[in-house]
Symmetry: C2
Subunit: 353 residues, 2 copies
DNA sequence: GGCACCTGGGAGAGCGCTCTCTGAGTGTGT
DNA sequence: ACACACTCAGAGAGCGCTCTCCCAGGTGCC
């Protein structure tokens, strides 16, 4: 009745008055700490309901020194780091439009929402932006960072570690760093492709690689070559691409000129594989009958290509979820030993091989 | 020297002591309010530098009642709203991986970062999740919501309006609602496609539409048909798709069976257009020589298709930036009249038409 | 029966910031 | 010369919450 105007949202105090208990007790019920008499719990819960109370995050954060949020930082190529585009960022400024990134987001959001948390999205593509990220975290708007770097020598991980901010990487850092990360066994992925091509009976295989200054590219190739060697093919021709469609087309053309009797191909990502498919079709090669093609990523390009791509799939959503778990663990227990998790890729068989 | 251990991050108090002024003065300098003696400003700024001070967001939010953050809510298809997938969400649970969404994010982040803000990413794909979104905002973690709905009868806009939370939509709501939005002139986009096909000399054109329960699909078609009528083609055959690659293939096959002498085609999105291209190639039609194809969206599919797609481009990044501007305006001045902004699409000419 | 111990609730001190109010100092008008 | 406005810094009261103390009452043990 006369419980005030209550135009502004109700506070703990209001609920306490309504329930006839102290502020502390309401707080205890809401946060489920210590024993509170079940009867009183009920009364409090009813009062919460009646007042339409929602806890004020700022007030809570102020005293707990926890934001209850994490940052999802995409450390992409930007102004001052032009050359050497990363694996998943073929176009400048398009980082976020990359479905690869979308899958990460899906995994992160999926994990966090179960805990009532949500990621703050940040872009760190310049020295300024990186400083902004560090400051933002220091201001306490987020308790830690999930970091997705699109190029190898990203300085952000070091900055974060230096500032003592909890942080987990997607993909192993180029330089060893005291930092957790999740990654996929790229070598095993390459091996998967090799095994599949050999099992299909391919005899003269080749590979289109990603940029070889990227660790993942080297690993995929190494895994592929090692497995081919085990199958009795010690030498596998390889041409370097840069993960773009055009580079895939170029690489394929080069490979065909050099080795016209090619019958199997492993391409380090789907977009380049799609380019390879275009060139093969132009030159009248039937896929998979004459040339079998295996991609990497299982991106939307794999599904929309004709023939649809057989490809190596990374469990990105699970990796992203695990990355998030690692971060929250770290936030809760800053002193625990750093752990990283490596995931196994799988082969998705479609039409191209 | 003996300025304390300063292990924990420094507070305003620390800076004030260092500068030999009061807390209030430091606050004034940092927030740039009222006149402060330039000399003192300098001293304070130096003290900030010296202490490595960063303002605590929670404390600030507590008193200003502003989070300094906005939510970017993707209200996608989920458990309880299975049927009738939205325009940009061909696959369940993949909403975030859609490049369309990525472009929105890019625009939003681009606009916000200039103001030192960053979006909190939320997914609202179930009744529970929607409640979570509303609660989250009510808790004050974000000052308002940018809402991207992937289907027409999304109840979230009404929930937010009902709760009195500032909110701007991407795309006009299906039902009229007291809410701001940005959108593209879909009709004009359809007209752009028609004009281009006619200018190329196409005589027998057809269209593959999006799901006709989606407003945007109807508008694109209407714009296309109206323009064709103006060019003396009062009747244009149209087949309905659902924005997926497969539906584009199906629609194209149907259209060709019905009208084998087709020489021009407008497809309501690029993914379906890519499907149409596949079918045309299979049936030996040369694009653009025998059949000219115009898509919609200017997505990555448009670039990676062969031939690359001529397509209608929505200025999504700018739209997203404007949406953000509208929201921040609204947060600052809740009583101002609602405004919405409609953008003009443009035609991107590539090989397919 | 006295003491220690445990359980469950209240009081109150802050967390770090903003912002209003107050008051000292400096001009300006008559 | 005095009153008055004006400028700019300081004091201090919270914002809404958590969490540590403290205390009352009940229980178990010797």
């Amino acid at each position: 009745m006369n419980d005030g105007p209550a135009k502004a949202s109700p506070t703990l105090e209001d609920v306490a008055r309504e329930a006839g208990v102290s502020r502390a007790t309401v707080s205890r019920v809401i946060n489920g700490v210590r024993n509170v008499d079940p009867g009183i719990q009920d009364v409090v819960r009813r009062a919460v309901e009646a007042t339409g109370y929602v806890p004020n995050r700022a007030a809570r954060s102020l005293v707990t020194r926890r934001a209850g949020a994490v940052a999802l930082v995409v450390s992409g190529a930007g102004e001052d780091e032009a050359a050497g585009e990363g694996p998943q960022a073929p176009f400048r400024g398009q980082v976020l439009a990359d479905p690869f990134f979308g899958r990460i987001t899906t995994g992160v959001v999926g994990f966090l929402r179960a805990r009532g948390m949500h990621p703050v999205l940040m872009l760190a593509d310049s020295t300024d932006a990186r400083k902004q990220v560090v400051d933002y975290l220091r201001q306490g708007h987020a308790d830690g960072a999930l970091l997705v770097s699109t190029h190898a020598r990203d300085p952000l991980p070091e900055l974060l570690v230096g500032a003592g901010l909890p942080c987990v990487l997607f993909a192993r850092p180029a330089r060893p760093l005291p930092i957790s990360y999740v990654d996929v066994a790229h070598r095993d992925g390459g091996a998967l492709a090799a095994d599949h091509l050999v099992a299909r009976g391919c005899q003269r295989v080749a590979s289109v690689t990603g940029p070889l200054d990227v660790l993942a590219s080297r690993e995929r190739l190494a895994g592929f070559q090692d497995a081919m060697a085990r199958h009795g093919h010690p030498y596998v021709p390889a041409v370097e691409g840069n993960f773009t469609l055009e580079s895939g087309e170029r690489a394929m053309a080069g490979l065909l000129a050099e080795q016209p009797d090619l019958d199997g191909l492993f391409v380090a990502n789907d977009l380049m594989a799609q380019g390879a498919l275009h060139v093969l079709r132009e030159q009248g090669r039937r896929v998979p009958e004459q040339v079998a093609v295996v991609g990497f990523d299982d991106s939307s390009a794999a599904v929309s290509s004709r023939p649809a791509l057989t490809t190596v799939r990374q469990p990105i959503e699970e990796m992203a979820a695990e990355m998030t778990r690692l971060l929250l663990d770290r936030v809760d227990q800053p002193d625990r030993r750093l752990t990283s998790v490596i995931f196994e890729p799988t082969l998705v068989v479609r039409q191209s091989a």
